[in-house]
Every structure is written in structure tokens, then in C-alpha cells.
Symmetry: C2
DNA sequence: TTGAAAGCGCTAACAA
DNA sequence: TTGTTAGCGCTTTCAA
């Protein structure tokens, strides 16, 4: 049923050339006569010749694809951010003729997914999202010999790896400091799941600033949970109902910030007046409006840029080029209504 | 560098059998001696044998993959919904050993992306998202002979195709009717881009109900635009500032509804009191909380279920099984604060 | 019930 | 600069 699509051999026959020459011409090898190459290219274009990827993959032993394994379940709400990331990455792959392979697996099956990808040679490399404490993926991928790039710094010492990250600790230290300078003392932290590298570093930054400011951190004012709107709402609501409620909240995601914002309102309070909010902004442009809620933006703001860069890095890795880890800087952007602490 | 992974030939040699027999045993062909098969299976398991997908693909001519082509740009904000959809679909593919191939392309390159996928034999079938008026994809895919399933009904008559959709018109007719019955007259529609099938059908439903209710539809109360929060916010804000502002708003997406909700508040009005809101709910659970905003839910509510079903359908199509289009029913769920029209 | 042999369409040594 | 010859690892006739 499928349009057959011409083969290399057929094209070669039409040109009275050997498949080898045609292959070489089309793949840009230098040893082809310019005139011959022109002829071949013209014919290929004219007949809409497109090499069969499977054959090429088998012959070269390269999968011409990069894999992204996404665990379902607990972390599922990573989705909107993940989508932005994928957009950036996928663009890069397409540009060099690579394909993007997406594998969605139940939390438990994650390692098997990587094993399968490696053994079946389905991909030449992978991107690992949100490394965690004791993350088994790094060791596994190293063993499998599958090139990978981490989006986020690894937590412990799991051996050498290449990653792209932002200065999480610094960002949150700055943000906390900023609030302290405004006179806040009861500053709450609404963070992501504790075992995730991002969250760990952000907490560290928060705690450092608190310590420097001589403020004892109240553990009940730190929440580590999935960054959903509902979680943000519920946790904030509980905080708002305390006698000594926090006067400022720091969140790790614009998604939770939406929940915070709603909870504050529902508690009969006003954001930027009764409660200040600073959030790490993942630039989900479809979710936010200028100045609301007031937020903390990092240069990592465009998640799609991160996807873009991670993709480039993994391709370099695959090509055997040396690749350095990158840690991007941050930038504090003062929101409209982040005011001094209420008296 | 990569762990080599044993080949069929090697496995066969270890067993002193021919590759043919081993292949047959592993692929469940009936003509293999039970005892031999057991031996083969044991050995395969023991040595962790995993067939090389590329070789298999080349030999069988099947790509063992389904493609999803996502246009960038205008429709980019489809993202969060799309992510949910992909989750459902990907699960299905994985379960049967298929891979998910994602192609993100600039709006213009969409057709070429399909052509390339087909010619390079990268996929056995594709899912087409959000068919539009004069959508070139249907004809193209038919020509290419690439099996496809539409998520959303086609608009015109682009030839036979298989689709999965909800009863959009009926849903919006019902919702509008519901508002009319509550006494609303100035009902606004905040819809998706005009050329998208979903939006067209929803508008039709809205207009039918208005007509039946004997209410002239005010064109300035229908907005067709990308369903982003910002668009929802701005449009609603403009409406709220009119002398005769709408008393009810119907939106096509929970994303725009968030913008509506904020705009109403910022205009100093109260949702469910001054303005009623009903929205088609894509069940992006991370974005909403029970009862806020009041909403209209369809059984299509779980987008991931749609992804799941579309995937099954395309696999059946690929397998040559007959597949019927499906149109899922809807369900009106009354939200907490959708009250009668203000006097 | 098993095996031998011939590809799938391409790339890549090695020759010419 | 071009062509010849082998494969890549698997499936699949066709024989035994």
C-alpha cells in the first residue's frame, strides 16, 4: 500500500553509476567528482529519493535518534515544563536528521526502559531529566555505555557525567536574601520533591540565606512535594491559617505559585500586601501574565533553551566531541508587588 | 564503547542450532519443537539476548514506530494538553514494543515532515492532531499511504479517514442552553483558533443554542484565538470594560479559563456572581482545583484517555484491522458557583 | 522439525 | 574518481 520510494540501487541504475558513488555523493564525501555529484543530486531531488533510515541505521550501526525516558506517576506533573523542554530539543535533533524517541514508563520500569533502548540500539544517546539523590540512572547508563546528558546536576558522586543546570542555590539564596532585606522573617519555602537535585540545591540556598540573616529556619515552613497547583494551594492554605503565618513564600515553580496565589486570595489575604511571593519562573508563557504573581526569573527562564542546549550537548557527545558541563547564571527580577514585610 | 550485545548468530552457535530456528522459536512460530524452544528461550534469557531492532526493521520492512508531528509556533500552547495526550499514547506503543517518534517542526514544514517520515520509512503510522479547515495533511497522508488517525473530526470532505472526537457541538449547545436557562442573554464565547475543527464545532453548538433561545449572537462576544492564559485575560478584560458586559463566558480550554478568572477578579468583579464561567475541561489536573472555576466537563475530560485510544486505533490500522471512527459523548457537570444571571 | 541461502537497502573496506 | 565486494543482524522462502 505504501508508496515504494526509490532505492539507492535504482537511482544508481538510472544514472549508470554504482550505488557506492551515489551514496558517497549524497553523503557529502569529498572524493566525488563535482560534476557527477551535481548530476546525482539533481536526480535525487527530481525523483524524491530519500534513503531508507532502517537500512542506513543497520549499516552504520547508528540509531540516528536520541531518547527521552519519562517516568509516569509521581512526577507526571513535570509535563508542561517537559513539553517546553522537548520542543527545544526536538528542533535540534531534526535539524541534523536525528529522531526523537519518547518512552513513557511507569516509575518502576525506568531502568528497564534504558536497558532496552541500549540493547536494541534504538538510540545513540539519551537525556536524563531531573537527577535525584541516589539516582540509579547515571551508573546504569555509564555501564551501558550509552552517552547521556543530565538536565540538572547529579546529587552525589555517581561518576563523571555531563550536565546542564542553573545556579539553583545561588538563585534561592538571592531571593531569600532579598526578602530578608525587605524585613521578612517568616519565609516559607514551597519546594519540589526532596530527592530531586533542583530542590536540594534550592533548599540549600534558602537555608544559607536564612542562616546568614540569623533567622532560625522553621522546618514546618518548608514543604517538599510535587509541584502541582493543588499541592501549592493546600500547603499555602494551611500556612495561612496558622496564628503566625509566613509573610513571604518562595516557590520552585510557577505551577505551584498559581496555587499559592489562589490560596492567599481564598484566605482573604492580599498577595504583595499581606504575603509576598517569589517564584522560580520556568517561563511557561501560557501560564503567566506580566507581573502576576511577582516572581523570580532566572536566565534559565526559557526551558526550551535548556532543551535546545542539552540536545546539542548529547549530539556532541555522540559524535565523540569533548563536552563540558554548563551551569547557567541567574537573574533576579523584581515583581510588581513584592513589598516590605507587613508590620 | 557500547556493550556489544549478543547477536542471533552467536546465540545460535552456542546452542548448535541455526539462526533460523532460534529466530523462529523466539518469534513464537509454531513449527518449533517444544523442547528446542524451551532450550532457546532459556539461553536467550540467560544471556540477555535482545534482537537488534534495526536489523529486524530492515528485514521486516516495519518501522515499529508511530509518529507524532507537532507544529511549532502559532499552536505551541497546545503543549500541556499535548503532553497528557502523549502520555496515554506512548504507554500503548511501549506495551506492544513500538516506539514513539516525536517530530517538532516549524508550522510551514509540517507537510515535509510527513513526507520525510514516510519516505524514510521511519514510522508505520501517525496521529494527526487538531484537524483544521482545508487541512492538507489528510490528503497528503492518504497519498503517501501512511496509516493515520485524526484526533478530532475532519472539517470538510477530505476523503475517508479514521478519527476520535468528542461531541463538541452538543457539549457547547448544552452549556449555552444551560446558561440561557439560568437567565443569561449576553453570553460570550472564548474559543480556539477558528480553523480548528474543535473550535468550529463548538461555535456551531453555541450559535445553535443562542438561536433556539431567540438571542441574537453578538459577533464581538465571540473570540477565536490561541487558547493561552494571556489571551483569555486580555479578551475578558476588554469585555468586562464594556458598558454592556457579558454575564457569562464559555471557554474552550481550562488554560484560557484561568485568564478569564483573573481578569474578572482584576476588573473588580466576582466570578459566579457578576459573571458566570463554564469551560471545557481538558482535565489538566495540575492546573485546577475542585470547583474553581466552575466548569463544564466532558467524558473527553481525560485527554490521556484519548491518547490511549488513538494509539490503539492507529496500531489496529497498521495491523490491517478494520477501525471505526469514534465520537465520545459528553457530560455536563455543574460547577460550584455557576448561578443565575445578575439582574 | 530444522537448516541453507537469499535478501532487506545501505555503508565502507579494498581495489582498480 | 569510481566500482567491487562484503557485510550490518535479522527474517523468510525453499529444501531437506
Amino acid at each position: 500500500m505504501r508508496t515504494p520510494g526509490m532505492t539507492l540501487k535504482e537511482l544508481a541504475e538510472m544514472l549508470s553509476l554504482s550505488p557506492t558513488t551515489v551514496s558517497r555523493a549524497l553523503n557529502g564525501y569529498p572524493e566525488v567528482n563535482a560534476e557527477t555529484r551535481a548530476r546525482i543530486e539533481a536526480a535525487a531531488r527530481e525523483h524524491g529519493y530519500q534513503p531508507n533510515t532502517m537500512a542506513r541505521k543497520l549499516a552504520t550501526g547508528k540509531a540516528m535518534a536520541v531518547g527521552h525516558v519519562i517516568p509516569l506517576g509521581e512526577h507526571q506533573m513535570i509535563n508542561p515544563i517537559f513539553a517546553e523542554f522537548m520542543t527545544g530539543a526536538s528542533e535540534v535533533y531534526s535539524k541534523v536528521g536525528y529522531e526523537t524517541i519518547l518512552t513513557v514508563v511507569p516509575e518502576k520500569g525506568e531502568e528497564d526502559a534504558y536497558r532496552d533502548l541500549a540493547r536494541r540500539h534504538s538510540v545513540d544517546g539519551v537525556i536524563v531529566h531531573a537527577p535525584r539523590t541516589g539516582d540509579p540512572r547515571i551508573k546504569l547508563l555509564t555501564e551501558l555505555g550509552l552517552p547521556f546528558v543530565l538536565h540538572g546536576r547529579p546529587v552525589g558522586d555517581d561518576g563523571p557525567s555531563v550536565c546542564l543546570d542553573i545556579k539553583n542555590a545561588r538563585a534561592f539564596r538571592q531571593a531569600t536574601q532579598f526578602l530578608i532585606d525587605l524585613g521578612h522573617r517568616r519565609i516559607a519555602l514551597l519546594n519540589g520533591l526532596e530527592q530531586i537535585s533542583f530542590a536540594l540545591r534550592r533548599r540549600a540556598g534558602y537555608e544559607q540565606a536564612m542562616e546568614r540573616g540569623g533567622i532560625a529556619t522553621d522546618p514546618s515552613l518548608s514543604a517538599h512535594q510535587e509541584m502541582t497547583e493543588t499541592n501549592g494551594y493546600n500547603t499555602t492554605m494551611a500556612w495561612m491559617q496558622r496564628a503566625e503565618r509566613p509573610t513571604a513564600i518562595l516557590t520552585s515553580s510557577i505551577i505551584s505559585a498559581i496555587g499559592v496565589s489562589r490560596a492567599v486570595r481564598d484566605a482573604g489575604l492580599e498577595l504583595g500586601h499581606d504575603v509576598s511571593l517569589i517564584t522560580h519562573d520556568d517561563d511557561l508563557s501560557f501560564l503567566r501574565n506580566e507581573g502576576d504573581p511577582p516572581r523570580f526569573t532566572t536566565t534559565f527562564s526559557s526551558i526550551s533553551a535548556a532543551g535546545h542546549r542539552c540536545a546539542e550537548m548529547v549530539l556532541d557527545l555522540i559524535a565523540g566531541k569533548p563536552v563540558e558541563s554548563e551551569v547557567w547564571d541567574c537573574q533576579l527580577v523584581e515583581g510588581r508587588s513584592t513589598g516590605p514585610a507587613p508590620a
